[in-house]
Subunit: 123 residues, 2 copies
DNA sequence: CCGCATCCTGCACGATACTG
DNA sequence: CAGTATCGTGCAGGATGCGG
């Protein structure tokens, strides 16, 4: 509760960027790319089976545009494309990991809170 | 790129929770509550002018259900309700701060990446 | 193999009006 | 003051098919 006051302000820029980097699929893609270093398009699809091809394309484009991921054309005929995590993307990955670790640690607590809330608000 | 292998797996539970805690408005609400400790409903509205009353209600309910925020009825006639950040919510705030700090630090780099990308993809 | 184009649907969110 | 109720809508995202 005490004022630290050096907390960064939340601007539209922040939200916009975070929205692009923490969207529905980016976590999964960054996670897989960090774990494997480099992956082909269909390899990613196999590793994240629930993702739609359209969504995977969109996610990769967005991450690429923001500099989190590098797209490398390996060869033509047959076309082969590799996606690699960019250095700045690894920093982001650390933050995502922190979020996941926090989530994992507090899931039970949250679960209890939900049960309490739902009970208090009738059912 | 090296395998740490102790990276937490991303499950549906993780996504669901993060979706609820990092949604469009939660950051702002948590931020304000952390900064001020406790706030009334309309005080929050004034501090986050762009938020709709409906969205603020929904956000507070969601945060409350997940145990991040505590709702305290201070008095009746006139009705007064205070929202306070819960202890577990402060932990989350630290993570959000980390995200904002990272974002602030890397915004220029991201901006350059975008310009490069947009240029490369015609215009 | 790596995508883009199209159609379709749900739902998140805003606007507005009303209540204890 | 602190909400609930209802309606309208934009758009993210799934399903499907085609193209280099």
């Amino acid at each position: 509760m005490q004022e630290t006051d050096d907390r960064p302000l939340i601007t539209g820029e922040h939200r916009e960027l975070l929205d692009q980097l923490l969207d529905k699929w980016s976590l999964h893609v960054l996670d897989q790319l960090c774990e494997h270093g480099a992956l082909r398009f269909n390899a990613l699809r196999r590793l994240i089976p629930v993702i739609t091809q359209k969504s995977l394309t969109a996610t990769l484009r967005r991450l690429e545009r923001n500099g989190m991921v590098e797209r490398v054309v390996v060869s033509d005929r047959p076309v082969a494309v590799e996606y690699r995590i960019a250095p700045v993307g690894q920093g982001l990955q650390d933050l995502i990991d922190a979020l996941l670790i926090w989530t994992t640690a507090h899931l039970p607590e949250v679960e209890r809170a939900r049960t309490r809330f739902d009970a208090a608000h009738d059912g």
